[in-house]
Symmetry: C2
Subunit: 395 residues, 2 copies
């Protein structure tokens, strides 16, 4: 008989063994997330998931999109031209850059856009550099793509990118630097001056290496920006930027799986990249969004969660937590707060809150112990109800 113990491939094992997934999984088990998430008294501030019924216009857009207009309504759909045109118009409005419809490579959401962005320019063994705290899936996606993750820490004071640390971490194998602004979990928007400094570092390093370093700009929160703030895409300052976007945040419907990888107008060799991404989309498992979501996109592009309401919730929570003695930055965008943990052991702190029916994510899950994350997709009511628990936990 064949020897046992080698059913699951080493490659799948290597993904499961990544630091961020391991910590993420361990946390979910520790608080019995799957078991508890249905409890009515639970106040769940963990993930960017909706906590109230979806708005009627969102449901109406889907409702309209399922009514077939022709025989091909549910046929194989790569990129629906109307969907590409709507996505390009939306990104043009946001950034001021003249994105072409054919450069909007529609995907099954942000995860796929990131994976495709890595695979289309990087070879196995190349390095992908990103900043801590990171989104939990950069590392698994990189490992699956055969890339080597290289991590640097953000500036702990400003929560901005640490440009010197990035410059020092670049090697001849560096192919991609991930930038995530507005940032999950810090809520920080990177200002033009910071992005220009990064661009200068990457331009110089590309020349030194004799090989281009790309920015992979992870921008699912680029429309969740609070008053007085302005989002700038790194593509404005660095031509070799690939933009990954998901509609799951702006519409707060992350289960519906539509997003894109966008090629900015100044990016060279866009035609070759378009063809290569499309072929990769077949080969990785037909990573094109489903037909209904593509039909709905022109309408969905006009919709958004209520940013003003989210901003009031941000202010209420930041003010209340600060009043209790928490140290917390006022985020410039996204729907997260990332306060310091009052206990040095953020996992113990999160456990103590969970004991009070309030779920948050400990900073250790983001490889940043001493902090914790609160998702403001919770309702205002949930926020109010949670305040006594937050007060008791720091008391």
């Amino acid at each position: 008989m064949p020897r046992s113990g080698h059913t699951v491939s080493h490659r799948a094992g290597a993904i499961a063994a990544t630091e961020s997934l391991r910590l993420f999984w361990a946390f979910l088990q520790e608080i019995d997330y799957v078991g508890r998430r249905g409890e009515s008294e639970l106040l769940d501030f963990t993930f960017g998931d909706p906590r109230e019924m979806s708005p009627a216009p969102y449901v109406a857009a889907l409702h309209d999109a399922i009514v077939p207009r022709n025989e091909s309504w549910f046929a194989y759909t790569l990129y629906e031209p109307e969907a590409q045109a709507a996505a390009a118009a939306g990104l043009r409005r946001l950034t001021g850059l003249p994105f072409a419809p054919e450069d909007m490579l529609l995907t099954t959401g942000g995860f796929a856009a990131l994976s495709l962005g890595m695979k289309v320019v990087a070879e196995p063994g190349d390095e992908v550099l990103f900043s801590l705290p990171p989104w939990f899936c950069y590392e698994p996606i990189a490992i699956e793509a055969g890339l080597v993750p290289v991590k640097v820490r953000i500036d702990p004071e400003t929560l901005g990118l640490d440009i010197e640390a990035i410059a020092a971490a670049i090697t001849p194998r560096t192919r991609i630097v991930i930038v995530n602004s507005p940032n999950n979990p810090t809520g920080r928007i990177y200002e033009p001056e910071l992005l220009m400094r990064l661009a200068a570092v990457l331009e110089e390093a590309s020349t030194r290496n004799g090989r281009r370093i790309f920015i992979l700009s992870d921008e699912p929160y680029n429309r969740i920006v609070f008053s007085g703030e302005r989002f700038c895409t790194p593509a404005e300052f660095y031509a070799h930027t690939l933009i990954a976007y998901s509609y799951g945040k702006t519409l707060l419907a992350p289960g519906q799986r539509i997003g894109y990888l966008a090629l900015p107008p100044a990016l060279p060799e866009r035609e070759a990249l378009r063809e290569a991404v499309q072929i990769l989309q077949f080969a990785v498992g037909f990573a094109f969004p489903n037909a209904v979501m593509q039909h709905a996109l022109p309408e969905l592009e006009t919709q958004s969660i209520d940013i003003a309401r989210l901003e009031r919730r941000r202010d209420m929570m930041v003010d209340a937590l600060t009043g209790m003695g928490y140290q917390v930055h006022r985020p410039q965008g996204t729907f997260y707060l990332f306060p310091r943990s009052p206990l040095p052991d953020d996992a113990a702190f999160a456990r103590s809150l969970a004991g009070r029916n309030v779920l948050v994510v400990p900073g250790a899950v983001f490889e940043t112990p001493g902090f914790f994350r609160i998702s403001l997709t919770a309702t205002d009511e949930m926020c109010q109800q949670a305040l006594p628990a937050f007060a008791a936990a720091i008391g």
Copy 2:
């Protein structure tokens, strides 16, 4: 400046260079498929796409599934328990094997199920063996997964698997054998005796290699079976079988992207495989089906295209083509015919038909020159209208 010409990764280039994709792309360009597909006089027999309006019950099922029942309706959705239960019940009914709901790993369709099936058991450098004519995407999916495709030809007389050829092609690096029954493009259903002989060969080779060889059973047509025929899954005869399924064929809505990788009840180490597939689904780009399609699945599991009508169309076309002098097998399942080309150059034959407004796929695209494929998802009217062109092309 960085040296030019290395924007697109070699890995993406290697996928684009695969024989089957290259031939497939060349064929689409040769007949100007994208340009012509909207022409009203065109009779399109190329792909398994719908050619008439979707049935009302299908649209009603989607309509019902978009109405949110709770706050989490459009939230991140991995495997919806009701969807898994419905999928398991359906496969139990079809095969008689007691599939467990938790072993139905829902994916964004058949492409993803095949890719995940390869990645979860095979290491880069392992060999995956499949038979010609193949589905056009086995090779690109294998190359993207880092696997080495090994091709054998089916028995040209019986259209069955050539078990001796498979046995001879197995090496110490063989990890997966793909079986596609009912077969695209031949319409052949592999009988139990053939599958038992394959199982015996793989059992012996696994022992000889000291490493298990898996069957990856690609079964999207397992419910499109004509009267007097019976489908058997290889899982009935070989425990180490992974089943890939897509709802896109049974429902003739391939743009809606839902399917699964199923772990048969006799397969050892199912728990480890389940965990590894789920983690891979995150890392390859969140390859879970969208929330609406999962909510719709219990209803969609009960639906199917009209097989009796398809069978009458098969008989009409086989009889008519045979009467004209074409050599064509009567398919046991699927919605394809795979006749011999009356010209030795099947591409020239397909071009001549295209000149008569009838589009078919030349056998060369399936690495099987001298044949051509007709998709019977065309309507009865389209079939009738095309008969004069088929008659003229052989005249």
